[in-house]
Amino acid sequence: MSAVHSPAFLNALRSLLPPESLLTAPEDTRPFESDGLAAYRNTPDLVVLPDSEAQVAAILRLCHAHQVAVVTRGAGTGLAAGALPIDGAVLLVLARLNQIKNIDPLARTAVVQPGVRNLAISEAAAAYKLYYAPDPSSQIACSIGGNVAENSGGVHCLKYGLTVHNILKLRAWTIDGQLLEIGSDALDAPGYDLLALMTGSEGMLAVITEVTVKLLPRPERAQVVLAAFDDVAKAGAAVGNIIAAGVIPAGLEMMDRLAIQAAEDFVHAGYPLDCEAILLCEVDGVNEEVSDDIFTVRVVLAASGATEIRTADSEEQRLKFWAGRKAAFPAVGRLAPDYYCMDGTIPRAQLPHVLKRISEMSIEYGLAVANVFHAGDGNLHPLILFDANQPGELHQAETFGGKILELCVEVGGTITGEHGVGLEKINQMCAQFSTPELTRFHEVKAAFDPDGLLNPGKAVPELHRCAEWGAMHIQGGQLPHPELPRF
């Protein structure tokens, strides 16, 4: 039994925190039972809500002393059950560490606590005509600490990069309560690139209490073109053609017929409905450059077989074009009681093949799929529609989703582009990595957290799990992870 229930541990915790920062009653802890992936739920035993870095460090030291596991949670918007509570663990919620400590307009940096919302950084920087570039679609709610933990992306990654490209420095604490100052105020730091290692580490290595982010100047102008295609493959080819023409769009999104229909019914963005796919291509930058790029993009889209091309000629229209895309998830959510959002990335050239296989599997599993695609960087979000109240449908949706991710690996891609592995995709890690590679991941964790107390069981599968998974996934007569013992 975990020490989390022992009076000694609880009393020590009470001495560290004011009463309102410690939740133990099920009615208080239940709101934290899941993150953004609500299919996975587990009421936490104990929730702590520190409001200072010193409290975080003290909580970690105490948990280490009592060998109690810690699951760190930010705003709880993650989509991979990375912040799913674990039995016998403390849920460490960093939402109250929500101060923007400093904005330096000349150096173009902001120093923020982990609970600061992504969008709040850009709002605070707006006074200096600066902004924080990564913009996951949950940016109104998601917090920067979680963004670092997941290496979050957004619609502007192709041009502006992911979280890893947009942060300079972290203050983080190991499970035994030692401060790590990672990165620097310069553009690099001595030694190994622990900043990259921490980014996307899903709360497995250390707990972040401060992030220094880069701010960028607001582009002078942004403009979006909408193009319709009668064939998904043509739309996919158009994406490559735009890039081959030397344009790096700020955003390049694709939606398929079902996603377009759903978005149009929901927000009336004015999307064409008699097509198989639409592309939204936004270019930004200096005024003159945007004019040139828009011209190039239109020429390329026409040559790529677009059946209709519209350019937003006002900010109002630009936002309207985007409204449909930004509302795509809730819009698709209206089509069925539940949907399951996948997050694979593929080399773009594989798009026609992958979409064809997904539609075949859709028939096979009897579940409809709407496809929303960060086309510029190959990140696919198939939304599988199902009804959790129908016996077996959730399981069916999860199996279908797993198959899509394995397909992504098969064509040279990855099981997660921006949502993280969490608990959700842990089996598919066995498809993407070999036993020695997974062993190295476990060793990286052990280098930071030898007792395995930070978010145990997430992100990297135990090897016996891969053996069990592999037993069910024999491909071409070859058993994955053949070297592992099976039982």
Binding site: D104, L106, A186, P190, L197, G285, T414, G417, V421, V460
Partner: protein
């Protein structure tokens, strides 16, 4: 070819023989002196895959940078981190292992920013693959970026996948007569405005600024900023990238004079550590030819939010890099121990006993 290298690594692991990983040998001066048998990577030669429309290039680590850049140029694409060649023989693997970037770095990103995946062999002779060939990938820890700048101490990089970018349609370089303090403010002020900056340099009273982008954008920025147009600009930036200007290249006047790289917060005012200085990266790097004590320079860099590297000396260097805080040093040792338990790769190159 790869199997031969793996066999040698396994043998070295078995008997604890130290190995020095070497590509083109263009950066042997960089880092601390190391000892061991040379493990050459030049047999790992060739581009494995290049899809211009995917913006991704994969090549074996011993492939010369010049070959990769020539191939990219045929498709009007480039390595946007502008890796230094230092004499011409630089390989892709060496560039990634050293993690050095050129003048475009503050505006486009660093070597590590463009790495999408690596294949490597660890210190036990185990071949491993991390990351991949796609731009977005958050499966597993980012071990491929951990290899960048690790100076080969965690393993032999055998293959690298990189994001590449289209070459800008136009470039123009402008020069301004400005004192150091004013130049630092200018570089930072302009970086906060929507201008197509792609490189900045200040030396001996001259601020030099490169603009890259669509022809129209470069022209508009040029009109806005003013200054004198520099004619042989590509040569200017290449000399700075490869450190072949007299400032970097000349024999120091005394034996104790060494080339230091101070990485600092870009807005740091003039350091007042002597006149032999070249500023790059929007103020974030200050090169000093100096005979000041190591501790003076290290403390100065630390005060300015950064770190100091002894980049080139007149003799083999020890203590090239800023020592790590104890908690970070422990993590480094733990990681080194896991990836290279016998410590066979590039022993001492990064830190003593590594």
């Amino acid at each position: 070819m790869l199997n031969t290298l793996i066999d040698r690594i396994r043998a070295a692991h078995a008997d604890g023989t130290p190995l020095i990983i070497q590509g083109g040998g263009s950066k042997t001066f960089y880092g601390n002196a190391d000892e061991g048998e040379i493990l050459g990577t030049r047999t790992l030669n060739g581009v494995v895959d290049y899809q211009p429309k995917e913006l991704v290039l994969t090549a074996q680590s011993g492939t010369p940078l010049a070959e990769i850049e020539a191939l990219l140029a045929e498709h009007k694409q480039m390595l946007a981190f502008e890796p230094p060649h230092f004499g011409g023989a630089a390989t892709l693997g060496g560039s990634i292992a050293a993690g050095l970037s050129g003048p475009r770095r503050p505006y486009a990103g660093s070597a590590r920013d463009f790495v999408l995946g690596v294949r490597m062999v660890d210190g036990t002779g185990q071949a491993l693959r991390f990351g991949g060939q796609v731009i977005k990938n958050v499966a597993g820890y980012d071990v491929s970026r951990l290899m960048v700048g690790a100076l080969g101490t965690l393993g032999l990089i055998t293959e690298v996948s990189l994001k590449v970018l289209p070459c800008p349609g136009a470039e123009s370089t402008l020069q301004f007569e400005l004192d150091e303090a004013a130049a630092i403010v200018k570089m930072n002020t302009w970086a906060g405005q929507p201008l197509p900056l792609s490189a900045t340099s200040w030396h001996a009273g001259l601020l030099t600024v490169r603009l890259s982008g669509a022809r129209s954008a470069v022209r508009a920025a040029q009109a806005k900023l003013g200054g004198e147009v520099v004619n042989d600009a590509p040569a200017f930036w290449q000399r700075l990238r490869d450190q072949t200007t007299p400032f970097f290249d000349k024999r120091p006047s005394t034996f104790n004079q060494r080339l230091w790289r101070l990485a600092v917060k870009p807005t740091t005012p003039p350091l007042k550590l002597g006149d032999a200085q070249w500023i790059e990266w929007g103020g974030a790097v200050r090169w000093l030819v100096s005979d000041l004590r190591e501790s003076t320079l290290r403390e100065a860099a630390l005060r300015c939010g950064g770190h100091a590297t002894l980049f080139r000396g007149n003799a083999p260097v020890d203590g090239a890099f800023t020592p790590l805080a104890p908690a970070l040093l422990t993590l480094h040792r733990n990681l080194k121990q896991r990836f290279d338990p016998k410590g066979i790769f590039n022993r001492d190159r990064l830190y003593p006993d590594f």
